[in-house]
Amino acid sequence: MEIRNQYKLSRRKFLQLAIMGSGGILLFAKCNSSASSWRFFSNAEAQLMDALADQIIPPDEWPGGRESGVTNYIDKQLVGPYQRFQAKYRKGLQAIQSNCETEFQRKFEKMAWTEQTAFLEQMEAGKMKGTDWADGFDREFFDLIRTHSMQAFYGSSRHGGNKDNVSYKMLKLDYPLIIGQNRYKS
């Protein structure tokens, strides 16, 4: 019941409900940034996530990761079933930004598209330098973002991504499947 309705609610409304309903679960997010309009991410983290999501699933004639709600999906899961990944996201996003600012004097989302791509390819290949990325954390965190972005874009829209069932439309796949009503509205 709750899962299905959340998608339809505005984020503010959802936050109010979630706070009433589940008490302490949002403390982490609140400590981090009191002004955030997200459940877990700070506004700055969410901007970075949007840029990462577009790199993983770039917009073309179909919406990309950002527009389809990848950040919203991950944000939502991080205060739900993915609570165990909270620390990794906090650490990983911070590490990406500090890397970019040291090396390029800019935030990731301000870098050129090809620079962003090259940066992520380094992460994917496990070639990042510095203590932030020790023990293969570069590959691990990249894989986490990649996997979660794919879930957001190609999974059910009830979890906060795949806005308007965009990926199902792209694949020409009727969705959702409902008995007697096997079509989505275009």
């Binding site: 794919m150 190609y154 020409k172 008995i179």
Partner: protein, 553 residues
């Protein structure tokens, strides 16, 4: 108020336990059937890929849940990992009434004659515990038939010359193929193979008060919205309940088998739905909790009479854990071969199950079930980008042009792939969790390579313009949803856990009725064999009981 003692209690309402409950209760015995999960309805999760039992990244729709359950995996390098049910390494089977029979792909195979005689057929294999079963195909044949008629199977062996002989046809005709399967069928015929529509525990026509399948794309991993897929939850368990002799107790976690001061089994202790510790006494205890959980329960039941767990005098409980490796090949076609006629997986061949040169056993090959979008995003040819523009284009261009052929390779069991209980990690109820270690026998690679090559050849013949393959062998424990072998049946108590009727050798009133009994696991999905064993074990207990045998010695 204390529970009343019953004639029999069964732990686990899945493929084996559901059948045993029906056999005993309809024979007049009083029965309590324990299930750790609850009844599942389709509406609880619809066709949400991220909660499906095959890909439960956000949590298993049909349980178990991530909050209360844990397992420990030991990798071959010695590292240990705590795994959650939503993670693949957990080797999960649904935790609900019907268990895996709610969410399975519903393939309804009988094993072949050779599958019960692996050592006689292939000889001793070094480093393995490959052996014959103490029962033959012909012993089990009538019980396969019972499963096919009481639970409901569609299919026809006419086109499969490798099928073992049967006394009676299946009750429903086979399913028609979709476009992809038709293309593959024609290719298999050109190659001289013997393709046929595979048997399914799914209604091809209305049967037993349930409707025919309406060919959705989401089937494996999901509950069926119209109950066309047959499991124990919508067939034998309702019959058991209707008998008036069976009480189903859901949301109950059985923690230990109880032993009295004389070393006799008296029942079990368990946690009820409110997590209160309780006991249930019974004349007979039957374990049907699946290969990992049945072994765990036995190993967690230690006493002065059974210091290593009940019936574990010779250290065979938990050994020979096996699942199936899944060698496979993918093929991309120029044209769309996808017609959205679900659930897929219908054309199969048994040409490579046995008597392949240089290979121990083998397995059937078939087209796979329809792959959903998120799962598809992880399937790419070697060297292909896994993200970015190219990845998205590949997804868009090929979603309806890809076929997969795969098959379950019959693993060579070994003593060191096993279930133990972890010395320190406990679940929500404080019960030591299963600890899985070991890996598949090294010769499995030969069989997997052989089958993957055959799969690829088949796709090429069908017109695939690009193909690639994989051996489907885990780098760690192989168990999965086809887990088996941890309480193997046998005639020699020194090299097996139960006798041929599933009774623990050293204990007169403790039985096993699930995949744990399998000596070997066939090159097939094991569900119908587990059901047949449920009829075999349950039928034996009921007939003995009604002759006056109370299993006291």
């Amino acid at each position: 108020m204390a529970n009343q003692k019953v004639n029999a209690l069964i732990v686990g309402a899945g493929a084996g336990g559901g059948v045993v409950a029906k056999e005993l209760s309809t024979a007049g015995m009083s029965v309590v059937l324990f299930e750790q999960g609850d009844w599942i309805s389709y509406d609880d999760h619809t066709n949400d890929e991220l909660h499906s039992e095959r890909n439960p990244v956000l949590g298993n729709a049909c349980g178990p849940d991530d909050n209360r359950y844990r397992r420990v995996n030991v990798f071959p390098d010695g590292s240990q990992h705590i795994v959650l049910p939503s993670e693949g390494d957990y080797n999960n089977i649904s935790a609900c009434v019907g268990s895996g029979t709610v969410t399975y792909g519903a393939l309804a195979w009988r094993y072949m004659r050779e599958d019960f005689k692996m050592k006689s057929t292939y000889g001793h294999v070094a480093g393995s515990t490959l052996d014959d079963w103490p029962i033959s195909y012909d012993d089990l044949e009538p019980f396969y038939e019972k499963a096919e008629w009481e639970i409901g199977v569609s299919g026809d062996d006419t086109l499969n010359p490798f099928a073992a002989p049967r006394n009676k046809p299946r009750p429903m005709p086979p399913f028609s193929h979709n476009k992809e399967a038709e293309i593959l069928k024609e290719a298999a015929l050109r190659l001289g193979y013997h393709p046929f529509s595979m048997p399914m525990l799914r209604n091809s026509i209305p049967y037993d008060g349930r409707p025919a399948c309406y060919r959705m794309r989401t089937c494996i991993g999901y509950a069926c919205p119209v109950s066309a897929k047959a499991g124990t939850h919508n067939t034998v368990i309702p019959v058991a309940l209707k008998s008036g002799n069976c009480e189903l107790r859901t949301n109950c976690i059985v923690s230990e088998i109880m032993v009295d001061n004389n070393g006799k089994i008296t029942g079990v202790s368990y946690f009820d739905r409110n997590n209160r510790k309780k006991t249930q006494l019974a004349d007979i205890v039957i374990l049907s909790a699946s290969a990992i959980e049945t072994a765990r329960l036995i190993l967690n039941s230690k006493s002065k009479f059974f210091p290593n767990g009940i019936g574990n005098e010779n250290d065979w409980v938990g050994r020979n854990l096996q699942g199936h490796a899944y060698p496979h090949a993918y093929g991309l076609f120029d044209e769309e071969i996808y017609d959205d006629f679900g659930p897929g997986s219908s054309v199969g061949i048994c040409d490579f199950n046995h008597h392949n040169s240089g290979i121990i056993g083998g397995g059937y090959l078939a087209n796979s079930f329809i792959r959903m979008p998120y799962s598809f995003s992880g399937v790419r040819p070697p060297g292909e980008k896994m993200w970015g523009k190219q990845h998205k284009e590949f997804q868009r261009n090929n979603f309806k042009k890809m076929a997969e052929i795969h098959g379950p390779y019959q693993e060579i069991p070994n003593f060191d792939q096993r279930v133990e209980v972890d010395p320190s990690v406990k679940d929500y109820w404080g019960i030591p969790v299963p600890r899985l270690s070991g890996k598949a026998h090294e010769d499995d690679i030969k069989g997997c390579s052989f089958l993957a090559n055959k799969a690829e050849l088949w796709l090429k013949e069908a017109g695939a313009v690009k193909t690639w393959k994989g051996f489907g062998i885990a780098n760690s424990v192989s168990a999965g949803q086809h887990q088996a072998g941890t309480c193997r049946m046998g005639n020699d108590p020194k090299t097996s856990v139960t006798d041929k009727f599933g009774r623990i050798h050293s204990v007169p009133n403790l039985f096993v009725a699930d995949g744990s009994l399998h000596v070997t696991n066939g090159g097939f999905n094991p569900a119908l064999t587990i059901m047949a064993l449920g009829y075999w074990v349950g039928g034996h207990i009921a007939s003995e009981w009604n002759k006056g045998n109370r299993f006291k010695s």
